[in-house]
């Protein structure tokens, strides 16, 4: 228990230090930046190009933040990092975040949304295309276990029996689809069609979003405690990240090659793949209110969609007041 109280005290002292540093006049530009840690949702790829751009261009530093970036991966559940205190904010899928709030009483708030339209969709080969939920009947669809509820919701919304579709686990490898072992897979439509074309096949896809499953993705999530104690830092993070994204989308071809020897080095993917991704995600992220915007209509669509799979979302889980301060 001694350890516990020490840690608390340390946080308190560190917090006081930060508060002093924020006082105008007391500190110049040389003041130590406030540490802030973000947990990404996946391994380094174009999905996070805006954050890499903002780091490389010094936007976080200019905003007084000393940002630590944690990569994700298929087995990393970003929300776990903020509950465990390893990160201050995480990029998450809203269905798991809200399910954790409802089922586990997790103290989360959603303060922004990277994707206005969730990029997950059903990907199939052009020579055996599946363009609507209806066409999934009698087919084998590979789905990451975490996303099974999303697919079940999409099927229900479109009046298709769950038992009409054979759902098997998906391990993010397109080989079974290319070889015809499965008929379709659930993946980011911004990404996997490129890999399939590299293997000499053409891909086709539809977004779950376009068939009634209207959710955000890569929602920016913090704990209530962090929201209270680091509010100004979070606003600074949103502002700096938006700058990074705006720079990235000014020319979607420009940034990915710049990261070839840094962020994207040795990820096992190619720069051409990241450029494809970066171009494909642009229409899913842009909003008249700027990157991360959450308007009333969008929030309501998320609440309604999740309500259809029995996840009781409510308006107070979304906090738009930080976006207003940017």
């Amino acid at each position: 228990m001694a350890f516990h109280s020490n840690r608390r005290r340390f946080i308190k002292i560190a917090g006081t230090g930060a508060a002093v540093a924020m006082l105008p006049g007391l500190t110049g530009r040389t003041a130590a930046a406030t540490p802030l840690t973000m947990q990404a949702a996946w391994i380094n790829d174009a999905e996070f190009a805006g954050y890499f751009a903002a780091i490389d261009e010094g936007h976080y530093k200019a905003a007084g933040l000393d940002l630590t970036y944690l990569s994700g991966g298929p087995d990393v559940i970003p929300e776990s990092s903020i509950i465990a205190g390893k990160a201050d904010l995480a990029l998450t899928t809203p269905d798991t975040t809200i399910k954790a709030i409802v089922d586990q009483g997790a103290p989360f708030k959603i303060i922004g949304a990277q994707y206005q339209k969730n990029p997950i969709g059903v990907v199939s080969l052009a020579k055996a295309p599946i363009n609507t939920p209806e066409e999934l009947k009698g087919k084998t669809l590979a789905v990451p276990p975490v996303n099974v509820i999303s697919v079940e919701a999409m099927l229900a919304i479109n009046g298709i029996e769950r038992s009409d579709v054979n759902i098997v686990p998906y391990a993010y490898d397109p080989t079974p689809l290319i070889k015809g072992e499965i008929d379709a897979s659930l993946d980011f439509t911004t990404n996997v069609p490129y890999s399939i074309e590299q293997q000499g096949e053409k891909a086709t896809s539809f977004l779950l979003y376009d068939f009634g499953y209207k959710t955000y993705n890569d929602t920016v999530v913090v704990t209530e405690e962090t929201l209270a104690s680091k509010r100004s830092e979070l606003v600074a993070w949103l502002r700096a990240s938006r700058k990074g994204w705006d720079a990235n989308f000014a020319d979607p071809l420009a940034y990915p090659p710049k990261f070839a020897d840094s962020w994207f080095k040795g990820t096992g993917r190619t720069i051409e793949n990241e450029i494809f991704f970066n171009q494909a995600q642009m229409p899913l992220m842009t909003h008249s209110g700027g990157i991360f915007a959450m308007d009333d209509e969008g929030i309501q669509a998320n609440i309604d969609t999740l309500g259809r799979i029995g996840i009781k979302a409510s308006r107070d889980m979304f906090d738009t007041s930080l976006l207003a301060e940017i």
Binding site: M1, F3, H4, R7, Q39, A40, I43, N44, L70, S71, G72, G73, P74, D75, V76, I77, E79, S80, S81, I83, A84, G85, K86, T96, K99, A100, D103, Q104, G105, A106, P144, P145, V146, N147, V148, I167, V168, P169, A171, Y172, D173, P174, T175, P176, I178, K179, E181, N191, V192, S195, I196, Q198, Q199, K265, G266, T267, G268, R269
Partner: protein
């Protein structure tokens, strides 16, 4: 003794297998080209070598540190258990749990409780601990009693005997433990890389490469992982040769047996057993207290009981758990039996023709370190997503330890036994039937005990990656939903299932003795 003739034979067979692989790859014979030609894999590996280095170094570092730390703890624990056998009895629950726990069940908890590299090193060390500890303890206990008498005649105590005689005698056994531990350390580090979002490491490289649908890259990464394990394995074998002047065959010591403990009164024995059962739970509770984690993540033993029996979520949790268990347990038992049968046949084959065994050993080693995530797409393409694929994956993780153990059992059969039937003109087949098979009964049960927890791991991996059923799928899904109550429950239940199956083999052994 290996003759020149045998060495040539081994080399020829090895070459033949490699050529067959190359041809199968070139002609795209296996699953429409999913098994690439060896030359294609190696060419690509060489072309991309600059991409590989940082990943190899990262995995080398974490698995190497895990290997060293796990082995130090294992040898120290074995020394303590040798001097103070009560200690072994008290920690038996902890030891069996460390042995039986399926690594994938504890990865989610480990990566949350520990930071980055520490989680990877810890998992590697945990997987290393048990094989080295048991091998060392067996080595320490199997000494020439005359040497011990000599030490005590000169007035040396237990400690002197341990340091002068036992430790020295145990070196070959310790080295054989290291040989088994080397692939375990690499697998542990890679499994933890999957879960922890590491920037570098072969596991991370594999994840990034999975999405490209290029099997030659996946196989290249698998071979790199195998090479790291092979280096560890080879160094341990060399060390064994230096220290003893002879190279002992790989041995796997059997898990702690029930009968080695000194005779004690009944009530004391019950007390010891009770403490042994309670200690793992106590450690669990203490780790959580030290970790200072949110109660959403950290479930104590009582927290799990509450989740499973007294909370609002209990009815749903119970039905999902029972459903998963009913899918997982039967196939685990079936997979264990088939894996054991495969190991037994291979051991027989290698007994009859040792050349075959030496040629097969490198490939057997590949199955131990090649991350199953890379092999599963291949297995799915060949065997589909039904029971067959689960059995194939289970056999591939089960047979190695059992095979090594059975081969060792066959090798220990006294030669004069064979000389007798030889004199009567028995064929190799008759020798097997009359002597080798009956003599290996004991080893079969030991092998079954070793294979049980591995079979459970194999089934869970297949469920997670291929079939979407059972405990493996439940674990993966719960992780996505942050259902930590269920994550802890699956971890605990899978250890309990492994221990129950493990005890079952004891009962079966006792029954066949009558």
């Amino acid at each position: 003794m290996k003759s020149r003739h045998d060495t040539l034979g081994t080399a020829a067979l090895l070459l033949l297998i490699l050529i067959a692989w190359e041809v199968a790859g070139q002609l795209r014979l296996v699953a429409d080209g999913t098994l690439p030609a060896l030359s294609a894999i190696l060419t690509r590996l060489f072309a991309e070598r600059s991409d590989y280095w940082p990943h190899i170094l990262a995995t080398l570092e974490t698995s190497g540190l895990g290997f060293i730390i796990g082995n130090l703890i294992a040898v120290a624990a074995a020394l303590v258990f040798c001097l103070w056998p009560i200690g072994e009895r008290l920690l038996r629950g902890v030891n069996i749990a460390a042995f039986a726990v399926p690594p994938i069940a504890i990865v989610p908890v480990l990566v949350i409780a520990l930071d980055g590299d520490v989680a990877r090193i810890t998992l590697a060390a945990l997987l290393v601990y048990f094989p080295t500890m048991t091998a060392t303890l067996a080595g320490l206990r199997e000494v020439d009693p005359r040497s011990l008498d000599l030490v005590s005649a000169y007035g040396g105590g237990k400690l002197k005997a341990l340091l002068l005689v036992r430790l020295r005698a145990a070196v070959p056994a310790i080295m054989s433990g290291f040989q088994v531990a080397a692939p375990a350390a690499v697998l542990g580090a890679i499994l933890a890389e999957f879960g922890s979002g590491a920037r570098w490491g072969l596991g991370t490289f594999l994840l990034g490469s999975l999405g490209r649908g290029e099997p030659d890259r996946l196989w290249g990464i698998g071979l790199a992982a195998t090479a790291i394990a092979g280096v560890g394995y080879g160094l341990a074998a060399l060390a064994a040769q230096w220290t003893t002047g002879r190279n002992r065959a790989v041995t796997i010591a059997p898990p702690p047996s029930e009968s080695t403990s000194p005779q004690v009164e009944r009530w004391r024995r019950s007390l010891l057993t009770l403490i042994a059962v309670l200690l793992p739970f106590l450690f669990w509770q203490m780790l959580l207290l030290a970790g200072d984690l949110s109660p959403i993540i950290a479930k104590t033993p009582l927290g799990v009981l509450d989740y499973l029996f007294f909370s609002n979520a209990s009815p749903s949790a119970q039905s999902r758990l029972l459903q998963a268990l009913s899918e997982t347990i039967p196939i685990t038992i079936g997979g264990m039996f088939i894996g054991l049968a495969v190991a037994f046949l291979l051991a027989l084959l290698s007994f009859a023709t040792p050349v075959v065994m030496r040629a097969l050993l490198p490939f057997a080693l590949v199955t131990q370190t090649m991350p199953l995530v890379a092999l599963t797409p291949l297995a799915v393409l060949i065997f589909g997503r039904g029971i067959t694929v689960t059995l194939v994956i289970t056999i591939s993780v089960t047979f190695f330890a059992a095979f090594v153990l059975l081969a060792q059992g066959f090798a220990l059969i006294p030669r004069p036994a064979f000389d007798l039937v030889d004199a009567y003109g028995a064929s190799t087949l008759q020798k097997l039937r009359l002597i080798a098979i009956p003599a290996s009964r004991k080893w079969l049960f030991v092998a079954a005990r070793l294979a049980m927890p591995k079979a459970l791991l194999g089934v869970m991996i297949a469920e997670w990656l291929a079939t979407g059923k059972g405990l493996g799928n439940l674990l993966n899904q719960s992780r996505g939903y942050l259902d930590y109550g269920m994550i802890w429950t699956v971890a605990v239940v899978s250890v309990l299932v492994a221990i129950a199956l493990y005890q079952l083999t004891y009962t079966a052994e006792r029954l066949t003795e009558r």
